[in-house]
Structure formats: structure tokens, C-alpha cells
Amino acid sequence: MSSQTQTYQRFPIARRIEHIIMAVSFGMLGLTGLPQKFPTLGISIFITNIFGNVEILRLVHHISATIMMLGIVWHLLVANYKIFVTKEPMTMLPVIKDAIDGIQVFLFNLGIGKKFPQMGRFNFEEKLEYWAFVWGAAVMGLTGFMMWNPLMILKILPGEVIPAAKVAHGGEAILAVAAIIIWHMYSVHIRKFNKSMFTGKLDERDMLHEHPLELADLKAGLAGPRVTNPIELRKRKTIYFPIASIFAVIMLGAIYGFVNGENTALTTRPPASNPIPVYFPQTPTPMPTKVPLVSEGPLNWESYAGPLFQEKCTSCHGSLALGGLSLETYANAMLGGNHGPVIVPSNSGESNLVVIQSKVHMGQLTPEELDNIIKWIDDGAPEK
């Protein structure tokens, strides 16, 4: 009975935190990356709206990528410590047995195979996931770097590698997100919610089901760090820590270079170098100069008064003869209208034409024209 409640530590707290950092940064990368791959989908627009706009979306994507890169550096430091200092068995390395296990489980599930394999600390499902992540991180890191720093890359490589990197980044993203949903979600959330990544513990029953070989090793005292004498351990540490520190500094520098390697583009579009003026009116057609109605000549009916009246007055005082007055011919003009003569030769003051034109009247004569008419009348209003 007590063995049922016996629990075994599967993940120390540092690994659990590492998992959360990876899970969050991976989730954010997918969430902020896929809308950029499918910008016209409604869901992409919805997600972009949550972040505010695509530039913020991209900033979150970059921050998440940076966090993941830092997480990977930390993971490498820890892994190397275990490999070189505490010399723990490399339980994550794939071996032939994993392939056999996979086939056996599959055949067992199909009802063909009879044998369900016994597996160790990390079964083939977990190893597949881990190494898929390694592959994915390498592809995404490399292609992400190329897109983040195209100027740097294109000093060496042809331009085509940038869209190629973008295609690979997008393809790998779909693969990674879908694999997480199919593989990871199924095996640790749907099939059976395995809480060990959060609690750090697995009870004996689950250990027996999923990691029987590790359980056997634990019981036999064969699992975990190999017992080393403290002097040897200290010696390894004094070698490892300086090397690890240098490695860490180089990696941090590389991440800094990754993030701040270049200023690819100006953040604000520069104004046009030779802007075309918006308001640039055409030169207006010059006003037609007023043609003098009457050429220079003697002031008589034929060359001055007649043409002037024809131009200005005969619309009404022509064939219409409004008020009985027609200025069409010299004779009719001298006859006057219903109220008597309008032109009194040699007496412009008595001439009604001058009186009326001195006030406002249609076909208004200009002051100059009126002066000429006064002069003409005062000269006796000659016909020729």
C-alpha cells in the first residue's frame, strides 16, 4: 500500500521553471508569428488587434524569441554541467531501443503486437519531442536571424536567401505548433494529464506504467548522479565553471548581436527627396485687351456715333425701337422717339440721349464714349 503513495522526483524546480519559460515563449512566438504568416485571416486580425498593431505583435515576437534563446543557453549550461561535472547518464540520447519501442507500441495499439515495451527515464515519445524541439529551434533561430538581420546576411549571401528563410521559418512554425498540439498535448494532457512537469513528482503507479526501467534503476540505486568523491567533483567544477562562464558570455554576446545586429530600416519613412508641389496653378490666360470700338478718326456718325450705337444701343433701339427710338440709321436717330428728339445738334445739354446716358441705363456708355458723343453733338452731330 505504501508503495502506491510513494512518489519520485522527476523534475527539480529549475527544470520546471525552464519548462514554463519555454512553454510561454513558444506559445507567444506561435501566437504572434502565425498572424504574420496568414495576415488576411480573420483570426489573425483578431489576434493583432489584441496586441494593438502588427508592430507591437512583432515586438512581442522578438522579445519572446530572445527569452527562448536565453532559455536555450541556460539549458545548455545545465546539460553540460550534468554531462561533464556530475556525469549523469545521458538519458535523453536516442538509442536503437527507442525505434523498437515505438514500433512495438504502435503494433500493440493496433492489436497486432503482443508486447508492450518497458521504457526508461525518457521514453521514445519524449525523446522525439525533445529532439524535434532541438531541430526546430535550430531552424527557427537560423532563419529568424536571417530575417532579423538581412543586411548582415546579404553582404555574403544572395538576396534570395531572405525569402527562402521566411518560407522555412513559416513552414517550420506550422510544423512546430501542429506537432505540439498533436504530439505533446495528446501524450501529456489528453491521454492522461501528467502533472509531473509542474509538481516535479510522479507516483509509483505512474512510474511503473511509464518508466518501469527507471523505477527499477531507482530501486536498485542505479539512477541519478553517480556518486563521486568530493575532491574529484570540486576539481571538475573548477574546470567547468570558467569554461561555462566564457561560453555564457559568448552566447549572451551572440544573442545581443542577434537582437541588435543592425538597423535594417529607418523607423520613419523619409520625406520625398523632390516633392512635387501640390498647388501649382497654370498661368492664367491673359485677359483679352479691350479693343477700342471705334478707330481713331473724325467724330461723325459714319465713323464714330453710328458704330458705337450699333454696338451698344440697337439691341433695344434698333428694329425693336423701344420707346419709338431707333438708332439704326442717322435719319432715324435724328428723328428721336416717342418723347421727341434725343439728339439736338450743337446742344448736348438739351439732348435726351446725353441726359439718359449720364444716369444709369442699359448699354451704358463709358465716360470716355459719353464725352465723345457730347463733343460730336456740340459739333453739330455731323453725319460725315
Binding site: N53, V105, L154, I174, I276, Q282
Partner: protein
């Protein structure tokens, strides 16, 4: 991957034409109204809507009025042009617009300058062309005008009421072919520098030299009457759709052997993706990513194979790239696929990586799916049969 074939919303290429058509149908209705309304507008017995009485004086050449600022207002109406105008032909008479004039002497004319004169008179258009007039109230020109810029265009700057000929087909309401040609010339009265640039562009040259009815005129992009400010972020962000209205229309593009994939390939690219997401979220945000006209030119759009300016020449493209990427080097323009869809001959690396993932993704996911499904079914069977697992 599908990002190279990502299709955007289907756009109705003819939407602009339909809108303009509707506007013009409205205009036609507006124009034809006064025919029956002449009596109503006629101010008095002096004219009775008879233009010949006005023209008795106003047909005289050189009839002018000196204005307070020294400018000279020409009062002569060119009878020849007037008789060809749509107003004359639709029976609109002088006093329908010049309503304050009912005889001689005319009332005092308050205009102190030529511009004053236009500004005093143009509101008369509102009476018959109500829809168009109201649209102008929402325009860039009206904003400038109410902002104190007297030079901003009003109705009569584009449509001289004494000479304006018919622009639309009275039945269909469509823009007449000859009217199309007049549009850039009309805008040129104030925007002559832009007109000069347009005239030398691929669009402008086709219109003026070949009388090509497909190419855009000013109003195709800027609209008519309610012309909006084209310098806003929103106009810029939405502008690719404007170009796409024609450039994704196979009927038009097939005549010029131009690809209709220009929008899709733009959207699939980093720049287009950004602009598209801006457009779909908040189009009024500023963006440093280029739209069509940042590379191809605004009014001076040239053919990509233009021997001098063509973007097909990498050197020319690099200059455009360097506008925003000042540190760009020779290889940089190659990062933009020039609207090509990757193929074994164009951008083969992109094509083959795309192909690789086309196989890798279904293979990996399919394999995982089959394994997971087998596991799931087995568990279901065990649960139903009640056989304890393992």
C-alpha cells in the same frame, strides 16, 4: 507554402466605376431638373429666362468690370462656347444661376477680386446639383477653403458653367470617352506640377497619347467631389487596394500582359503583410513599410522595364530600397521577389524549400496523427471492453 498564394478578399474592380457612375447619374438628374423648373427660377419679366437679352450686352467682346483690387473681371460670354455647353443645351438660362439679376441696371456686385467673384457665385450650383455640392462639403478642397485658403477649388474652378460640356452619357450616366481625357487637364489648372508628372507616367501617357480608356485618371484614385486628403496614413495604408482594383482585374490586365498576382505577392511579402495587418486593424497608424507607390512612384509611375527609371533594373530598385534601408548593399534588392511566384526558374531556392515543407509537414504530422490515433482507439477499446490497460 500557402503564404505565396494567400488570397486577399475579392475586390470588385468595377466598384469605383459604379460609384462614379452613380455620382454621374445623380448629376444627370440634377442637370435635367431645371428644364422643368425654369419658370420657377425665373426672377422676373425682364428676362423671362431668355438668354438673348443678357447676351445682347454680354456677347460683346471685351466687356469688363474693374474690381477693387485692380483685377479685371471679364463679363463677355463666348456665344459659341456657351451654345455648346450642357447648361445651354438643357435649357438652363442665365438668371437661373444669376438670380439677383432681374434687369438693368444690375444690383451692385460686391466682389472685390476675381476670386471673390467666384466665391460669391458658386453656391448657386447647390440648387440643382445638390448631391454633388453636398459631397464637396466633405472634401479636402472644402477643408482648405474653410481653413482660409481661398485658392481651394470650388465647383466653378473645375466646371465653368458657361462652357462646361456634357461629361456623362445622359442615359447610362457613364463618363463619356472624351470627358475622361479632360479630367487630368481640369485638375491641372491648379495641380499642374502633378499633371506634368502624370502625363509622362505609364498611365498618363497611355491616356493622352493612345486615348486608352482603361488607365486611371485623377478621379479614379482620388474620387470626385468628395476628394479626400491623400496624405493621411489611412489613405496610404489602403492604397494597395486602390491599385489592386485594376491590377487584379484579369479583363484589364490581360490587355497589357501584366500579372494579376501583384497584390497577392505583395501581401505575402513582409512589407505587404505589415500593411495588410495595419489596414485590417487600424489603418490610420503610421507605417514605415512601403505601399505600391513608394516603389513605383505616385504620379510619375513608370513601366518596370522603362529604360531609365524601370525597377526591373536592380540598380534602380536598390536606389528605392535605400530610401528606407540606407545601408542596403548590392544583394539586398534580391531579397524582394519582384512580385514573382517562386518556381524552378524564378527564386528556385524559395521554391524548393517551400516544396520541402509541403512534403515534410504532412509526413511528420500524418505520422504523428496515425500513431496518436492508434493509441487513442486502443484506449477506447480497452475502456469499453473493461480490460485494464496493460
Amino acid at each position: 507554402m500557402s503564404d505565396l498564394q494567400t488570397s486577399t478578399k475579392e475586390h470588385h474592380p468595377s466598384i469605383m466605376i459604379v460609384i462614379i457612375g452613380l455620382i454621374l447619374v445623380g448629376a444627370t438628374i440634377g442637370i435635367t431638373q431645371p428644364v422643368t423648373a425654369v419658370q420657377e427660377f425665373s426672377p422676373g419679366n425682364n428676362t423671362g429666362g431668355d438668354d438673348s437679352i443678357c447676351l445682347d450686352c454680354h456677347n460683346k467682346p471685351g466687356l469688363t468690370k474693374d474690381l477693387a483690387n485692380g483685377e479685371v473681371l471679364l463679363l463677355t460670354i463666348d456665344e459659341q462656347h456657351f451654345s455648346e455647353s450642357v447648361h445651354f443645351n438643357e435649357g438652363v438660362s442665365c438668371t437661373d444661376c444669376h438670380q439677383d439679376i432681374s434687369g438693368f441696371p444690375h444690383p451692385e456686385f460686391a466682389a472685390r477680386s476675381l476670386r471673390d467673384a467666384s466665391l460669391l457665385l458658386f453656391t448657386a450650383c447647390q440648387k440643382c446639383h445638390t448631391d454633388e455640392y453636398n459631397k464637396t462639403l466633405d472634401s479636402m478642397h472644402q477643408k482648405q477653403l474653410s481653413g482660409g485658403n481661398p485658392n481651394a477649388a470650388i465647383c466653378t474652378d473645375c466646371h465653368n458653367p458657361h462652357t462646361q460640356e456634357r461629361l456623362t452619357d445622359p442615359v447610362s450616366g457613364n463618363l463619356l470617352p472624351e470627358a475622361r481625357l479632360l479630367i487630368p487637364q481640369t485638375c491641372a489648372r491648379c495641380h499642374n506640377a502633378i499633371f506634368i508628372a502624370y502625363k509622362s507616367s505609364v498611365h498618363g501617357a497611355a491616356l493622352s497619347l493612345l486615348d486608352d480608356q482603361n488607365v486611371p485618371t485623377c478621379i479614379t484614385c482620388h474620387g470626385v467631389h468628395n476628394i479626400q486628403d491623400p496624405t493621411t496614413n489611412a489613405f496610404r495604408t489602403n492604397s494597395p487596394q486602390l491599385c489592386a482594383d485594376c491590377h487584379t482585374n484579369p479583363e484589364i490586365m490581360s490587355q497589357y500582359n501584366i500579372s494579376t498576382e501583384v497584390l497577392n505577392t505583395y501581401v505575402a511579402d513582409f512589407h505587404g503583410t505589415t500593411i495588410t495587418l495595419f489596414e485590417e486593424t487600424d489603418s490610420d497608424q503610421p507605417s514605415n513599410k512601403p505601399v505600391c507607390y513608394d516603389c513605383h512612384g505616385v504620379h510619375d509611375i513608370k513601366k518596370t522595364n522603362d529604360p531609365v527609371y524601370g525597377l526591373a533594373m536592380k540598380e534602380n530598385l536598390l536606389v528605392r530600397c535605400q530610401t528606407c534601408h540606407p545601408d542596403a548593399t548590392d544583394n539586398f534588392p534580391g531579397a524582394w521577389m519582384s512580385h514573382y511566384i517562386p518556381s524552378p526558374t524564378e527564386y528556385p531556392l524559395v521554391y524548393y524549400i517551400n516544396l520541402f515543407y509541403k512534403f515534410l509537414i504532412p509526413t511528420v504530422l500524418g505520422g504523428m496523427g496515425i500513431y496518436v490515433l492508434a493509441d487513442f482507439i486502443h484506449r477506447m477499446v480497452v475502456r469499453i471492453k473493461g480490460v485494464p490497460h496493460k
